[in-house]
Every structure is written in C-alpha cells, then in structure tokens.
C-alpha cells in the first residue's frame, strides 16, 4: 500500500531533503518556551470578566469591591483605554475603526457576544484574580440577539450595530443593516450560459461555526516600563500585527512597543488577532509590574475568533458531455460581532478550480452576536468548496460521468481567466487530478456494504506579503539566519534549507533565530501559506547579498577585480586562475582581517500568487443503525510547487485533511435559543482523535511556481478545502443521501434515512 509519495521534477542538494528541525530537541524535551512559560520576576496574573449575554447594553460597572480585595493590584475597564478620553470629532474618519478595535478588546457601551471582555483584574495569583472578578458589579440591559447569518440578513432583525450600513462597492445604503458589505463579480453572459446548458442544478448549503482548535490557549505577558517602553511576550502568528494592533488601541507609536515571539502552540489563522495583549499592557501600567494573561479553554471557544458559519446557494449549468457552461453563487458568512468575514475570499475561491466562460459570484459579509470570526486556514474557501464540490458530485452522478474525469474536463489551467478577472499562470490542478486518477486508492475498487467514496478539489491563492531576513557570516563559516517569521510547523528548517541551498553550504551550517520586532524589519504573519514562500524568498535574496560580499572579499585578498571571480559550489573561485579558490569556510576565516563580518539582508514583498491546489479522495462507511460515519481510507494530493521539507509538507496536508474531516463530521458550536454557546469544552466540541482516523496517505505533486526561485507555492491552506465535500460525497455514495449541511452528524444521516422510508 502506498503512503507518502513525492512526484519531483527537479532535485536540489538541500531543498527537498528531510533534515531534523533546529528547534526539535527543545520541543521533545519540554525545554521550548511557549507563551504561557514566560516568567518575568514579580509577574501578576490577570483574569478577564466577560459578558454572560450575547447582546446587552452596559448600564454601569462598579469595580470598587474588586479593587479592595486582598491581593488585587489593578482593575481595568474600557474607561482605562484611550478611546474613553478621545472625542469623535478629534478622531474624524479614524473614529469608527478605533471604536471597533477598542471595544473588541474591552467593551465600553455594549456587549456584542457572550464572552465579550468587560473588565480585567491583575492579582498575585490567578485564583485571587478569579475571586475578584466575582466582586465586579455590572448592570446590563439585555437586548434581543441574532446568531444565524440568514436571520441577521432579514429586515427587522435585531441590529448588532445601530449605525452599520451596507457598503455596496463604495455606495453606502441609507438604512442600517447587519449586512456590512456586499460584493459581486461576473464574467461572460450568465443567462445565455444557463440557456445553453443541458442540465442546470441549484442547491443551498450551510456550514456551522467551527474553531481552529489549536491546543495552546491564547496568552500574553506585558510589562509597561516606567520609561514608557512596552514589552510584550506572546504566542502569535505575527509579532508585527500584535504591535500594530496594540499601538492602535493604546495610541502609541509602534516603536514604543517591542513584541517578543514565544513558541506558539498552533494557530491556523486564529492567533493573528491580539486579544489579551492590550489588556495585559494596561494592567501592567496600572500595577507597575509585569502582568500575564492566559485564556481558559472555554474563553478560547467563546472569545477568540472561530471560523464563520455560512449559507450558500450554488447553481451550475452543464452540457450533457460534462462541460460546464455557467456557474453562479450567493454566499453569506457571519463575521461575528464586527465586520470582516472571509466571504470575499470565498467567492474568489469558489470556482477557481474551473475554467468556465460565464459566471457570477456575490458575497455578503454579515454581523451577528457571536465572537468576531478570525482566519482559519484558507479562510472562506473550505465552506465554498463544500458547496461547489458537493453540487459537482451531484451533477457527475446525474450525468454518469466519473468525478475525476469531469474535473479534468473543466479544470482551470495556465491561461484560465477567473471570474474576478486575472488570468492563471502555470498551476498544477490538472497534475493533481491525474495523480488522483492514477493513485492506488482510486484504482482500488470500493468494497463492503454501506461504503462510499468521494472526491473533491480545493484552492487557495497563497499571496506573499512582506518579509525581512538578515544573515551574518560567523568566522567559522556558520551562517546566523535572523528572521521575524514565527515557526508553527517547521519553517525554521524550511527557510534554513533555502538559505543553505542558495549559499551551497550544509544545512547544519545555518542557524536560524526568530527575533522580536526591534531586531528585524517588518515581517507579516506566519499564515496564508506564505512563510516558506515569502520569508524563504527573503532568505534567498539575503544569501545572494552574502555571496556578492564574499566575492568582493576574495577580490581584496587576491587583489583582482570582482568581475574575475565567481561564486560556485559553496565557495569562490577565480574564473581564469584555477589555483585561486576558497571554500565558504576558508574565506569565512579570513573575514576578520579583511573588513570584519559579512551581513546579508533583504526585505521582500512578492507580488505573485503561489496558487495552491489540492485534490482529496475519501472512503467512508456509514453504520445504518447509528448513522455514524467512519473514514476508512483517505488520500491527500497537493501541488506544493517544490516541497522544501517534504515531511512538513505532508504534515500540513495531513493536518489540514484531519481538521477538514472534523469540520465535515463532528465540529460545531451549539447555541441555545438565547445565543449562548452550549459546548465550550473539548469534551463537547468534538475534534478528531487518533482513534477516529486511518493513516492519511499523501502525494506531493511538484509543478514549479514560476514566481519563486525554487518554485515554492506554500502548502498550509489548500489542504483544508476539499475534505468536507470529499467526505460528504462519500456519505452520499454510502447512503444515497446528499448532506447539504455541515457537520454531517449521525442524527442528520438517520433523519435523512427515515424521511426517505429506507431505515
């Protein structure tokens, strides 16, 4: 049986190999320091008081009893944030944005979701802080709430924000609504396309609110020194994002804040938003000592940023031969309490796997009384893929066309124009589909009663954004690689590999360090599958800078022109005199006497897209008596462009697939009729365990990205897009029932069976 395959086109010396990660030993011995392991002398512990209501007006807050409680050193509310003393007139256009950001951190006038922070306490230990929370008196006036995305869109729905008006591509509606934004894109002639189709199917789909489920809860330790400098130690996907967000809410110049990244216990997009940092900072300012804030698991569920629930309508027209003529969709996603759901990415990704002449996509960003949603792996795309790929499977069934052949017939390729306009460069979807068709899994006949097989595709653009890298050459020839990208899943290794490859030196001779915001240029988050791609690129650039400087040192030593020297095989040589050559290490030894150490540096902002595509195959069996679905075999295929460290690429593919299986079958926020989450623990929010799963087979396809020196595309996102539809399609095969609402719980399967009189 196959397990992990890599379909490589180009071989390199270091890129594409599987060395042990530099931070590995610290992480298997418990020595690695994560956010909660920060320990500054004299640190106080903070606890946050949160709203018990999904929607209410704050009438009064009295903190005096809490302040008087023994062991309590500081209590804060929104009154302690700069917003409280700034006027609307003073802030002008900035007001709305700052109010949202500041209120999200600590609510001033209204609470918009259960778990919304209202006050915070710093005390000598967490137990004391917790006891003090109970002494804070808050008078609320409860308001009607809305948590369902479609309910929220209706006329007359309770308004989450009284003054929010729909923005329709630059035009603001005149009456308030929960729809923050509407966008629409189209190409070709949709009506004509439907008229030409032999078969037109239209369906509606819904998905539930789910959480990224990282195992490490949010944390932040802050120390606001008496000289005004604010230090923050935290687990985040982006130190510069934390710095910017704290600077905004606290009205500080960015350089007054230093954010030091601790090791991070998973993020998947959920550790980009800064929830605790400003709270810990203000508590530290008030108490004069460092303050550490940690979320409990329930707080993580109720007050960090889950991924949105969605409602989607998809309509597709096809010819009898399987050629798609038109696609159309309306997608609405809940943003949570503040605007900004990923629905616009969803409409961009929805049909990105297909080459269709006519199409129209509409997206609606809707606020509801839930925590503000955050990014979760390929934000927006997994929901869209569930809808589109499920409908395509239904079409394949009606036309009796093999689902892979159907997708090959319609697949996007180089030159395909997407609905929103741009034309695809070299992409690897066709190669992924071919790899799926040729895979042992797909060729093996499905056996056994109540079993089904499903296939689905997924897409994420993988954009670049800014990264900075500095590297210094030590006198022993070891290169210190300094970067600002935090390492969530092995990027120290993958960026060191690209550095070593470019310099022609050994992987072991590159020593990566991740530094704070004072020690490196701006670097965007680790997320969106960008780190190996963009920070890797910065490292390649900085290594080229080093090479140039090595050449000029050799020129000095040999007293010749730089033009006579070339950098080859990890060293420099004279182009015409064979005798004159230096290995990297030998030349490094001479740096001290030829002008000192060499520093290479680079800041990049790649403009191209990585364009990641994935195809998954799922086999399931469904127990007809209980409705329980078991995944019995699963294969994930993905175009990595070039897999820098194949083991970690496989890890991303497997991890994404399993999160997707959880999203498909189990995971969901339950709300009671008041809009309160009923299941904020890992016991009741059921994520897959090792017992629920088979091995996840992988195939890494390598179609080099023309927009990266080693062809890297980025791999973290696309892997979570196909599983929901792949599993749903397999369940349809096993039961004869199409499940159009996630998660596909045993209850829903049994209901469908009974309704059809089959059970």
């Amino acid at each position: 049986m196959t397990s992990n395959q890599v379909l490589s086109e180009i071989e390199y010396n270091v890129v594409g190999k599987r060395p042990v990660r530099p931070d590995g030993v610290d992480k298997v011995t418990g020595r690695a320091r994560y956010g909660a392991d920060t320990n500054q002398t004299g640190t106080l512990q903070a606890k946050v008081l949160r709203s018990p209501f999904p929607h209410a007006r704050i009438k009064s807050i009295n903190t005096s009893k809490a302040e008087a409680f023994p062991g309590v050193r500081a209590v804060i509310t929104a009154k302690d944030l700069p917003l409280a003393s700034l006027s609307k007139a003073e802030l002008g256009n900035e007001y709305a944005g700052l109010k949202a950001a500041s209120d999200h951190m600590l609510a001033s006038d209204k609470v918009l979701f259960k778990g919304h922070p209202v006050a915070a306490v710093a005390a000598v230990n967490a137990h004391v802080a917790e006891s003090a929370l109970a002494l804070i008196e808050i008078e609320y006036e409860e308001l009607e709430s809305v948590v369902d995305v479609r309910e929220a869109m209706k006329d007359g729905a309770p308004l989450v924000h009284e003054d929010l008006r729909t923005n329709d591509m630059g035009v603001t509606a005149d009456k308030p609504s929960n729809v923050a934004t509407h966008m629409s894109y189209s190409t070709g002639d949709v009506e004509k396309g439907f008229a030409e189709a032999d078969l037109v199917l239209e369906r509606e789909y819904t998905t539930a609110t789910v959480h990224q489920g990282y195992i490490e809860p949010h944390n932040s330790t802050a120390f606001w020194n008496s000289d005004g400098q604010l230090n923050i130690w935290t687990s985040t996907q982006g130190t510069f994002t934390v710095r910017a967000s704290v600077a905004n809410v606290l009205r500080l110049p960015v350089s007054q804040i230093k954010v030091t990244p601790m090791e991070i216990g998973g993020g998947f997009g959920g550790k980009i938003t800064a929830y605790l940092d400003a709270i810990a900072a203000v508590l530290s300012k008030k108490s004069g000592v460092p303050v550490r804030a940690l979320m409990t698991r329930s707080e993580v569920f109720e007050a960090s940023g889950p991924a949105p629930a969605s409602w989607m309508r998809v309509k597709i027209g096809v010819k009898n031969n399987g050629k798609m003529t038109t696609v159309e969709t309306d997608m609405a996603m809940d943003a949570g309490a503040y605007p900004g759901s990923p629905v616009m990415q969803a409409i961009v990704c929805a049909f990105a796997c297909y080459d269709v002449e006519n199409g129209k996509v509409d997206g609606y960003d809707v606020v509801v009384n839930k925590p503000k949603t955050a990014a979760y792996r390929a934000p927006g795309s997994p929901q869209a893929a569930f809808a589109v790929e499920s409908l395509i499977d239904e079409i394949c069934g009606q036309l009796k066309i093999d689902p892979i052949e159907f997708r090959l017939l319609n697949a996007a390729k180089e030159g395909t124009r997407r609905i929103e306009g741009p034309v695809a460069r070299r992409i690897g979807l066709v190669e992924c589909l071919e790899a799926a068709r040729n895979h042992d899994h797909y060729k093996t006949k499905l056996e056994g009663a109540n079993s089904g097989r499903g296939v689905a595709c997924g897409y994420w653009p993988n954009r670049g954004f800014q990264s900075s890298v500095v590297m210094t050459v030590n006198y022993d020839g070891v290169v210190s690689l300094i970067m600002g990208s935090v390492d969530i899943g092995g990027t120290r290794a993958s960026i060191a590999q690209q550095t070593a490859e470019t310099l022609g030196i050994a992987y072991e001779d590159v020593k990566p360090t991740i530094v704070d915001t004072d020690s490196i240029g701006y670097t965007f988050i680790t997320g969106g599958s960008r780190t190996s791609f963009a920070t890797g690129w910065a490292a390649i650039d900085a290594a080229e800078d080093v090479k140039g400087q090595m050449i000029s040192r050799a020129a000095k030593i040999w007293d010749t022109s730089e033009d006579d020297i070339e950098y080859v095989n990890g060293g420099v040589s004279h182009k015409s005199d064979e005798e004159l050559k230096f290995s990297f290490k030998d030349l490094a030894r001479q740096l001290a006497t030829t002008g000192g150490s060499i520093t290479g540096r680079s800041s990049v902002d790649p403009t191209g897209e990585g364009n990641g595509y994935a195809v998954h195959i799922a086999d399931v069996t469904v127990d007809p008596d209980t409705g329980k679905t078991d995944v019995t075999r699963f294969t994930a295929i993905q175009d990595a462009g070039k897999a820098v460290h194949p083991s970690y690429v496989e890890g991303q593919m497997q991890g994404g697939a399993v999160q997707g299986i959880g999203w498909a079958l189990n995971e969901e926020y339950f709300f009671d009729d008041q809009g309160k989450m009923m299941n904020p623990t890992f016991l009741d929010y059921r994520m897959p365990t090792s017992l629920d799963l088979p091995m996840i087979d992988t195939v890494i396809v390598e179609v080099a990205n023309p927009g990266h020196p080693y062809g890297v595309r980025g791999v973290g996102e696309a892997a979570i897009c196909p599983p929901m539809a792949a599993v749903g399609n397999a369940v349809a095969g096993a039961t004869g029932h199409r499940m159009r609402s996630l998660p596909i719980t045993p209850g829903k399967i049994l209901e469908a069976t009974w309704e059809n009189g089959k059970g």
Binding site: G30, A36, E216, Q654, T681, S690, I696
Partner: protein
C-alpha cells in the same frame, strides 16, 4: 490560604514542595516548581497536553491535586531523556516529523512511553486506541502513530 507540605519523587529525585489544597498537580509543576515542560491545553481533562506518568499510570495532571502527589513517583517530560541522550521515542518523533507546533508533544511522548513500557509490541490499532486521550490539532496523528510504531517491536 493555608499550604500543605508534600514530599514526592519527581523524575527520580525526592523533592518537597508547599501547595494550596486547590492547586492542581499541573499548577504545582508549572508555577510552584517552574517545570514548564508539562503543558496546559484545557485544564479539564480533555486534551492530554498535561499528561504525566504517576505511579506507572498516565494521568492528566490538571485533574490531579498537588496534595495527591504525596508519596507518589512522577515522571514528566523533563525526566524522559537521560545524560546518555534522548529516549528512543523522542528521537523517533524528531526523525519522523511527528511534531509541528509541538505543544502536544510532551503529553504524547509520555503517553507513548507508558504504552511501550507496558506493551513493547503495540501495533497501530493499539497505539491509536491508547493515544485517543491526547489531542493533536496539527499533524492529523499520522506521523505520531508512525513514530511510535517505529519504536514498537510490532512493526
């Protein structure tokens, strides 16, 4: 609050600490003893990040009170490697890329050690069953199960 004196064996050494009756063993390890290798993921017994071995059995240290450690024999991640080097499971986790973010790793390593100590030839099914109390959100478990299998005599 009144504190209790506890004498226990931790990673082979006899140690003493003072703790409040309400403090969990996890809290004692991390906050009293400064041993932060044991991780907190949920504090309610549902993730296994805080797994330690206590008197030969794996326990979620967030569900054990510090005072219950009296007279016990406890192994944490800090006690897994020896001066001679890493434990074979630690080595195997590294070689098989069985960790991404690594927050679940100490818990998985101790749970796996306890399994192989008792059943040196555990097979895939047994490993999956045994590790079902430890959540990993990054890896999809595939590489973790393979890493344990490599050390198991089952193969």
């Amino acid at each position: 609050m009144a504190v209790t004196h506890v004498q226990t064996t931790l990673n082979g050494d006899e140690i003493n600490f003072l703790c409040e009756p309400r403090q969990s063993l996890l809290e004692v390890l991390r906050d009293v003893l400064g041993m932060t290798g044991t991780k907190e993921g949920c504090n309610d017994g549902n993730c296994g990040a805080c797994t330690v071995i206590m008197d030969g059995r794996i326990v979620d240290s967030c569900l054990v009170l510090g005072v219950e450690a009296k007279g016990a024999d406890i192994t944490t991640i800090e006690g897994m490697a020896s001066p001679e080097g890493l434990h074979p499971l630690q080595q195997s986790f590294l070689e098989n890329a069985a960790l991404q973010c690594g927050i679940c790793t100490p818990g998985f390593l101790l749970a796996s050690k306890s399994l192989l100590d008792q059943e040196p030839d555990a097979d895939e099914g047994r490993i999956r069953h045994w590790l079902a109390g430890n959540l990993c959100r990054c890896t999809g478990y595939d590489k973790i199960v393979r890493a344990v299998l490599q050390v198991s005599k089952a193969k």
